[in-house]
């Protein structure tokens, strides 16, 4: 032990670099074996081998005096990003990097010199650093996937549909929060301008719960639409929600609320001056068509 510690750290580091350069091909092959056997089924072996070769070259480049590790980090970042997208677990991703430690250790064991053993401590730290870097990139990529999906969901879940000439509807589905309501509000108002519609129906049949905040957002939307010269009807209020709203003491004022989308449409049609009569029997309809 005393012998090992008396070796200067620099000498150990140089020894490892020497070892890596001398045994380049063998270390790489061993690394490929270890990484390949630890990865589960759906890995393309040839692909992995090529990736590891690139990584190894970049690693060699980063060693020595004034070595540049930006290539190595770039490659690692790409590897972890790809693995995150393809649905690998974090361990599967990290093991690729940590496999190199095992591969190198085997060569150090055969070498057996105190310098090599001292150097392994340094090398181990280096690999740990790279491993952590990989994991960080992996989770960043994962997070980005989640954020992207949340955005897509936001776009998907807020359609504005035209029910009649001059009447549009927004069927809201799912929990409403500030961000979503903001999107709905802007989209609805923009549609009112674009289509010149004077009536809008906000259908909340698919909204599981209404609290003061959600109600506040709905009211703001209605008032904003009024400022622009359009009238809003809120429909699809289920009994429990009506109960909640009254219990919370939310005042809807003179805003028209209807139980069903059909009622709201009928109201909007009446307001815009459309009259509709129901025919008495189907026979009567046929007679007229004939």
């Amino acid at each position: 032990m005393g012998v090992t510690l008396s070796v200067p750290a620099d000498a150990g580091r140089r020894r490892i670099e020497q070892l890596l350069q001398d045994n380049e091909e063998r270390v790489l092959r061993r690394w490929q074996e270890i990484a390949g056997s630890s990865s589960t089924g759906n890995v393309d072996r040839a692909d992995l081998a090529a990736q590891l070769r690139e990584l190894f070259q970049a690693l060699l480049q980063s060693l020595g005096e004034g070595g540049d590790s930006s290539d190595l980090r770039g490659l690692l970042a790409e590897l972890s990003r790809n693995r995150a997208r393809q649905g690998f677990t974090p361990s599967e991703t990290a093991i690729v990097v940590f496999g190199l430690k095992e591969a190198v250790y085997e060569f150090i064991e055969t070498d057996g010199s105190p310098e090599a053993l001292r150097g392994f401590v340094w090398f181990s730290q280096l690999i740990d650093d790279l491993g952590l870097f990989t994991i960080e990139n992996y989770s960043a990529a994962r997070e980005k996937v989640i954020v992207d999906q949340a955005e897509q969901l936001l776009e998907l879940s807020t359609p504005v549909v035209k029910l009649w000439e001059g009447i549009v509807a927004v069927p809201l589905v799912g929990t409403l929060d500030s961000a979503r309501t903001q999107v709905v509000m802007e989209k609805l108002l923009q549609t009112l301008v674009d289509t010149g519609s004077e009536h809008a129906v906000i259908d909340i049949t698919g909204v599981p719960a209404v609290d003061t905040q959600v109600a506040q957002h709905l009211l703001k939307t209605v008032v904003a639409a009024r400022l622009m010269g359009a009238e809003c009807v809120i429909s699809g209020i289920r009994p429990q929600i009506a109960h909640t709203i009254v219990t919370l003491g939310i005042e809807f004022g003179d805003i028209v609320t209807k139980a069903s989308l059909a009622d709201a449409l009928a109201h909007a049609l009446r307001e815009s001056g459309v009259e509709f009569v129901s025919r008495r029997t189907r026979v009567a309809v046929r007679t007229e068509e004939g």
């Binding site: 301008v193 904003a224 639409a225 400022l227 010269g229």
Partner: protein, 126 residues
Amino acid sequence: MDRVPVLKLGDILIVSIQIDLQDQSVLALQEDLADKVVATGARGVIIDITAVEIVDSFIGRMLATIAAISRMLDAETVVVGMRPAVAITLVELGLSLGGVRTALNLEKGVALLKHLEAPRITTAAR
């Protein structure tokens, strides 16, 4: 100082705001409009803010004031062409422009005034 022109179309006065409003020009507009309403006996005033992209509480108050002045002179005020972003800002500011009628665009604004006018005409005909 830029003056906002007041246009006459039948018994309706149309004001289209296309400049950044300063305190002075707003005061001038209010005076011009009041004079014009009296001079022409206009029944309606339409304020077109299609070109207004930025609003503050000052503009909100201006609209309410103009509406109040016109109503005093027996003319209905309709604000038309408000952009969604402007409407949202006014709501966030807590200005709901009570007493001001609104319409999506100039055409609908004119139709609204005609609609409001209709009962008077029938009464006059009897």
